[in-house]
């Protein structure tokens, strides 16, 4: 199996979760990661810079029409929905809130499922609403891999529990185990980027 992208949805408790996850991923981690984190519409991107300082990977806010590249972690800007196009670029919209949220996890996940089909990994982490449930369902329907944080280990259990109730996840794990699993998957990936680099 070749995974081309990882999408992650996270809400309350997300800052700590992202810190743990991103400081543990190694510099050669290849699969690009895109995240929706629920944040206030007025927040600036200072916290992204802080996260970036703690990570071996390049963490940045997703730009409109930006091409998704390996080795990067993209974070949704506040007050916009983030979508992935089939040509693997980002689109932003200011459509109505979905599940009271903009950015919404469902919006990202559903577009990513259409763009990557079964080459996609969806991850639902801590949070206190049910955003992400419809999206992870769509990812499963398109043949992607679903990883859910074990609600018992999540700062807020509601969001992962809601996802687990709706689908049969491939994995239900603690954050530490999710990190390990992603690293393992990335190593096993028959990696097109790696091959390109060796040409």
């Amino acid at each position: 199996m070749n995974y081309e992208a990882i999408v992650i949805g996270v809400s309350s408790g997300g800052m700590n979760a992202m810190k743990i996850l991103f400081s543990a991923l190694p510099a050669d981690f290849n699969i690009p990661i895109t995240i929706v984190q629920h944040i206030s519409p007025r927040s600036d991107n200072q916290w992204i810079k802080l996260l970036n300082d703690k990570s071996n990977l390049h963490i940045k806010e997703a730009d409109e029409k930006e091409k998704i590249e390996p080795g990067n972690i993209y974070i949704s800007p506040p007050n916009y929905h983030l979508m992935i196009e089939r040509d693997k670029t980002f689109s932003l919209t200011i459509d109505e809130r979905v599940n009271f949220a903009r950015p919404s996890i469902d919006v990202l996940f559903e577009s990513a499922a259409e763009a990557y089909n079964n080459n996609l990994i969806g991850v639902v982490l801590t949070g206190s609403n049910n955003d992400g449930t419809k999206g992870i369902k769509r990812i499963k329907e398109c043949g992607g891999l679903a990883i859910i944080q074990n609600p018992e280990t999540a700062e807020s259990s509601y969001m992962p529990a809601s996802a687990i109730a709706a689908i049969k996840p491939d994995y239900i794990l603690s954050l530490e185990d999710i990190t390990e699993l992603l690293i393992k998957i990335d190593k096993q990936n028959n990696n097109p980027y790696e091959l390109n680099n060796q040409k």
């Binding site: 029409k65 979508m83 196009e85 200011i94 459509d95 919006v107």
Partner: protein
């Protein structure tokens, strides 16, 4: 594939051209409409769009996202005051074009700003959109009370000089914008994709519209703006929109790159 056939059919029959809009956006809206209307697939939806004008107009509403705010991005308005108003002050009359004005909140914000700067008397604001329903609402200038708290905060953060409530009268669930603000706003139906150059504008604002377009269409519309601006005219884009990937990047200088304010070179 099915969706591009649908968009082609909509264009042929109704003249609305969505063929170069962001695919993910279009797909999401169409899927939503399909589910809401109990249709099973895109070809069923296409048949209904072509035979049922009321349904077609619903779909147009779906594809035109009119979400907007007064004084959205207060720091943008602060920069306008600081960097653009001094330029506008040098003109005997001022033409402003709001392209994609949705339900008008942005145009009213601009009218307020120009009033406070003492420039409104010599200003005409052309506010355009291709969504007639949204324009009708804009013209009325009646907005839901529920948003006023948010708008008041935006207004204050943008450096507003008055009490925001002096710009409207409250009426149960709604507020009605003052007549004096409407005075110099001209509302007009204009499609950025299929219509031509609009005015000899001193200032064009097109915020959060181009994000819905693909790169080629963005480029095309940027040319339209370029041709509608006077030399030294100002172009304002949404906070996540950029000129960088367009052919016209070199034809502008930055006024405030962070707030996406650009000046057409002489």
């Amino acid at each position: 594939m099915e969706i591009s056939l649908l968009l082609e059919a909509v264009y042929q029959k109704y003249g609305y051209d969505f063929r170069q809009y962001s695919e993910a956006h279009i797909r999401r809206r169409i899927m939503n409409r399909m589910v809401m209307s109990g249709l099973e697939n895109v070809s069923q939806l296409q048949a209904k769009v072509l035979s049922d004008e009321a349904f077609a107009s619903k779909l147009l509403q779906d594809l035109s996202i009119t979400v907007t705010e007064m004084f959205r991005d207060p720091s943008f308005y602060r920069s306008l005051k600081e960097n653009v108003i001094p330029i506008l002050k040098t003109y005997p009359f001022i033409k402003i074009w709001h392209a994609g004005c949705a339900t008008g909140e942005e145009a009213y914000s601009m009218a307020i700003l120009m009033q406070e700067e003492g420039l409104y008397e010599r200003t005409t604001i052309y506010a355009t959109d291709f969504n007639q329903q949204a324009l009708n609402k804009a013209k009325e200038g009646i907005f839901s009370n529920g948003m006023i708290k948010e708008y008041t905060t935006n207004y204050q953060l943008s450096g507003g000089k008055e009490s925001f409530s002096s710009y409207y009268t409250s009426n149960y669930d709604n507020v009605i914008m003052n007549q004096s603000l409407k005075k110099n706003i001209v509302w007009a139906n204009h499609n950025l994709v299929t219509d031509s150059v609009f005015a000899e504008a001193h200032l064009i604002l097109c915020r959060n519209v181009l994000i819905y377009f693909d790169k080629n269409l963005q480029n095309k519309v940027q040319k339209l703006f370029y041709n509608s601006l006077i030399n030294g005219g100002i172009l304002c884009l949404g906070s996540k929109e950029s000129l960088r990937f367009t052919d016209l990047y070199d034809e502008y200088t930055d006024v405030d790159n962070k707030q996406r304010i650009f000046k057409k070179k002489y």
